[in-house]
């Protein structure tokens, strides 16, 4: 923030498209994500949110467009980058939080091993240090230290999701992709998880792209919002602006569909 003149986005997406045969997954998506910013992507099931997220995170190959990521002040296209480099990004600067924790965790490896895996993947070879860091991170996501040698299969859904977050953030990534991070959790657990995520995002200055259909999640976490329908972005803007004064018909429908208890 010292020199606003040369500040550039962390992630720049240009004309990203992906189709499944003749069906559109997502089409012509462009946006910039700035350092420290949280972008929410909302829309109904089948609107292309997850396709878009997977393309951004390099888990799915887009048909066209570019995903430029800041590396040492230079924006590098991660779509055309060699696979080893992209996979290295995936375990250093990027993190991916899955909707179902079992997709993002090794269920037959202890909690400590799960958190330590990324450290070992980038070359940590000191058991004591790895364990200390794992303990530190379990504490940060409110998992008791004496559960460090338990397997995730012995954890509740909310704990698994928190463990997944710890496992992803332990290497200090700059960009986190989240796919429905609160999906399938009951509301009180959701609230705690959201609190935790909000704290971590602010504390670590993380940038994040969050895909969800839950407007409460984006209201709490996201700075900016992108509304998708049928693979296209129909509305973007500041979160409060989009939610309080929706312009597009579909966004209006979405906002008015939320039950008021």
């Amino acid at each position: 923030m010292k020199d606003l003149g040369v500040m550039q986005p962390l992630l720049r997406v240009e004309g990203l498209s992906r189709s499944y045969g003749s069906r559109i997954g997502c089409a012509d998506v462009s946006f910039d994500l700035w350092p420290g910013e949280v972008m929410g992507i909302v829309g109904e099931s089948g609107s292309g949110k997850t396709t878009l997220l997977n393309c951004l995170a390099g888990q799915l190959e887009p048909d066209g467009g570019a995903v430029l990521f800041d590396q040492g002040g230079v924006l590098v296209d991660t779509v055309t980058m060699p696979e080893p480099q992209r996979r290295r990004l995936g375990r250093t600067d990027w993190a991916f939080v899955h909707q179902h924790a079992h997709q993002g965790l090794r269920m037959n490896v202890s909690a400590g091993g799960n958190v330590g895996e990324r450290l070992m993947a980038v070359g940590a070879r000191h058991y004591g240090d790895i364990r200390d860091q794992a303990l530190d991170w379990l504490g940060r996501v409110e998992i008791a230290g004496d559960r460090i040698d338990d397997r995730p299969s012995a954890f509740s859904g909310g704990m698994r999701q928190r463990l997944q977050i710890a496992r992803n953030l332990v290497t200090g990534p700059r960009l986190v992709f989240m796919d429905e991070p609160t999906g399938g959790l009951d509301v009180s657990v959701q609230a705690r998880l959201l609190d935790l995520l909000r704290g971590l995002v602010r504390e670590m200055g993380l940038s994040a792209v969050i895909v969800t259909h839950d407007l409460a999640v984006v209201r709490l976490l996201a700075d900016r919002l992108m509304v998708m329908k049928d693979g296209h972005v129909v509305e973007t803007g500041l979160t409060d602006q989009v939610l309080d004064d929706p312009q597009h018909g579909y966004t209006q429908l979405l906002v008015s569909s939320v039950l008021q208890v």
Binding site: E83, P84, R87, R91, R106, N108, V109, S110, G112, G113, G116, E117, R118, M120, A121, V122, G123, R125, H126, Y127, G128, I130, R131, I148, D149
Partner: protein
């Protein structure tokens, strides 16, 4: 003897296996796929090792087979007889006299020399298998040298047992490149793998061959604060008195009596012939 082609396999198959062996030697530690044949023995009894031996043996070779270090167990005897019958090769129990040694679970105690070939029987060639079930993914991990996962296994060992409890099939890194499963040899044998002989690994069911050329660097994986320890039972051999060999523990009665003997029967015999005696050797001789 005349009913069989030399060493059972047909010449085309042997050529195919030799190509895989040569490729394996050119890329130490890399698992080369090969078209494994059905052999007249069940999977798990050394079908991979037998095929590699068949492709390696010549009529002038002297063949030795050990199973857990012993020359006289069922598996070792039947494979030795197999090649006596189908290849008419000379066989021996003496490590120094053999040119091709097929082994299951051990490396002979006597250092191997140039000109010798050690053939391992391998059940599961992929060291990452139990952590990563996808073959596509493990191949990619080998290709990109992503071996963090191997340390996750060692981490789990320490967190559960306080030390690296993997005692056999202890993963190694070959020439600073490929992580390799040394087959289920005890970790005591891992340091011996930097040897003058050629080492070939055959996995019949999994259809993989890999190899180590002579004097290849083989490093056992570990943590800085939990270094690799090639442990053995803290006893000398009760038969020959050797303090440097890998020992089997044998229960000798139902009152807690036990003895420790060299698992390498040829090594133990040679030492006893040279006059060495262990704690229980006297009554054995009487």
């Amino acid at each position: 003897m005349s009913e069989y082609n030399f060493a059972y396999l047909d010449e085309q198959t042997k050529r195919m296996i030799r190509r895989a062996i040569l490729k394996g030697l050119a890329i130490p530690g890399y698992q080369v796929p090969f078209a494994s044949r059905e052999m007249p023995m069940p999977y798990g009894w050394g079908t991979g090792g037998v095929q590699v031996s068949a492709a390696t043996l010549t009529p002038d070779d002297t063949f030795k087979v050990i199973d857990q270090g012993a020359d006289d167990t069922t598996n070792a005897v039947s494979i030795r007889k197999f090649f006596e019958k189908t290849g008419g090769v000379a066989v021996t129990e003496r490590t120094a006299e053999a040119t091709v040694i097929q082994t299951r679970h051990r490396i002979p105690e006597e250092p191997l020399k140039e000109g010798q070939v050690l053939v391992y029987q391998v059940p599961i060639p992929e060291p990452l298998r139990f952590l990563e079930p996808s073959e596509v993914e493990t191949r990619k991990m080998h290709a990109l040298e992503e071996y963090g996962l191997m340390h996750v296994k060692l981490y789990e060992d320490i967190s559960r047992h306080g030390h690296i409890s993997t005692a056999y099939a202890y993963p190694v890194k070959v020439e600073g490149r490929y992580v390799m499963d040394p087959s289920p040899i005890p970790k005591f044998d891992n340091p011996k793998m930097e040897m003058a002989a050629i080492q070939l690994f055959g996995a019949g069911r999994e259809q993989r061959i890999y190899a180590l050329p002579p004097h290849t660097q083989v490093v056992s994986l570990d943590f800085e604060d939990h270094p690799f320890d090639p442990s053995k039972a803290a006893h000398p051999c009760d038969m020959c008195g050797a303090g440097d060999s890998y020992l089997d523990e044998v229960i000798v009665d139902d009152r807690g009596g036990r003895m420790f003997v060299c698992s390498d029967t040829d090594y133990c015999r040679a030492r006893r012939e040279a006059g060495h005696r262990g704690r229980l050797a006297a009554e054995e001789m009487a």
